[in-house]
Amino acid sequence: MSQLRDAQAELESAEQTQPRRRCAGGGLILTGGILVGTVVLMALVSLVWTPQDPTATSAVDRLQGPSAEHRLGTDGLGRDIASMLLAGAQIPLLVGLVAVVISLVIGVPFGIAAAITDRGAGIWMMRWNDIVQAFPPLLLAIILAAVWGGSTATAMVALGIGASPGVARVVRSGTLQVLSQEYALAARAAGRGPLHLALRHVLPNIRGILIVQATVGFAIAVLAEAALSFLGLGTPPPTPSWGRMLQEGQSLLQVEPLLVLWPGAAIAITILGFNLLGDGLRDRFDPRMEVRR
């Protein structure tokens, strides 16, 4: 909004902005990175080892407190909570990863194309984008679950497609900004086509925005996956998942609140980690991109 003012120019010429930006957001990135790293590590470890079989039920061992055998106790079906927590990290991360990739694969080319054809097809593309955005990712997932039945695949596809309009919107505004720069005009004056513009100028310059968007999108996808599993429309049993642990814990809330607390904390920490990471990266790449639509 405000133009480069002289006082700011004076400040910046003195500060040489580069070193400042390089360390901006460092604390957030570190904290977020540790949290996310922990969750990723949990998922990786659970691939090769868990304390117990996370799917093995045992009527005898129902609802036990912590013991040497069951570090965090057992749930209503006698399964080992610690093992379920470890293995439960796999699905959210997988769904998050695939959903983010899908949203980028759809949203980035769409957003760039809409920006490049701004006055022509671009207007209609963004109208279409608005319409898709009226279908929240979770609603889309519920629709697909109604049609095809709930599964990991429908969750990934629905959440990915549902998140793509948001990506497209951000990419479009970033691209428009790049295209309004004189270097983009210079490239066109040099006879370079839209593809060259997109690959050589737009993508490198919106890379920061994309990384931030992907990180935040990951948090949203993890949250939505948990909600789907909680509703019973996510990954079907017996594959362990934090969302379903919550759902199963709800009926036993009166008996054992810890059944809700453990998976709840796991979900919250994962989301917190990605959000902190995203905020930190935003501080570093693009301090002014937060709200503007």
Binding site: A145, A146, F230, A268, L272
Partner: protein, 331 residues
Amino acid sequence: MSTAAVSSAAPRKGADVTMTVLRRIGVFALTVWVASLVVFTLLNVLPGDMARAQLGMNATDADVASFRAEHGLDRPLPVQYFDWITGFLTGDMGISYSSRAPVAPQVFDALQVSLILVGAGILIAVLIALPLGTLAAVRQNKPDGVLLSAVSQAGIAIPNFLAGLLLISIFAVGLGWMPSGGWTAPAEGFGDFLRQLALPALALGLVRGAILSRYTRAAVLDVMRDDFMRTARAKGLMPGAALRRHGLRNALVPVVTVTSVEFSALVIGAVVIETVFVIPGLGSLLMRAVDNRDLIQVQGIVMCVVVLVLLVNLLVDITRTLIDPRLRSAR
């Protein structure tokens, strides 16, 4: 940039607003129509065969054929679409596949419940977000500002259904102050209504409020960097007065804008919260319809939700036009 007369825009304000609003309404109608096509396609074309999807793989061909005939599924898709959408516009959403009862009355009953819940949720969210977000911005480098910022960050990380479960375990199971779920219509007992509304509305509003407060904080911070805020200080306004008189209204524009996105998140959040608190709203109805694979009912509910979201987008757009004179003649 000539010094000729003041541009003629000033006295035409009323006409500009009306035109802008009419144009927005036109776009809204068009958008709803396209959205209805999307909904219809998703639920009628994607499954391949709605009857098969309803009856399951074991149904005999004869069963499937008679089901089709009964629900008009043997007609061409455009005819089915036309039939459905004209029905929808007149308040008829077809006959449920599972209960064989008309869909619309159930949906309208549930919609009322959901609207109350969503309304209460957004009220709580806004009441939390605007003051706290502004405070966090103004005191951005002070301990309390940082604390507020951290609390909102933690709030965002808690999914609303988890918040719901925690509220239940504290206030219903632990302290026994509130019921753990259920619903009473306000007409049947206002006290019960409020007691049952409190926890689910809080679960919805707290989380959304945390998110909205971060947007508010960012918007206020943005505005505080604007040139006209410096002008306000140069006039002799104290920082607080400058923010009140010039900053907040400007910060409201982006906040109102995100409210439309936040609203759709809140509506879909209500679906989950209704399941947690056993509230007979659209969400519960939708989950039941999904369980029963009652696609015609799903279709009606989804369309309702989408229209609601688009309607709020429209209202938000109009509100922005009213706040910001620059949008009145733009585009």
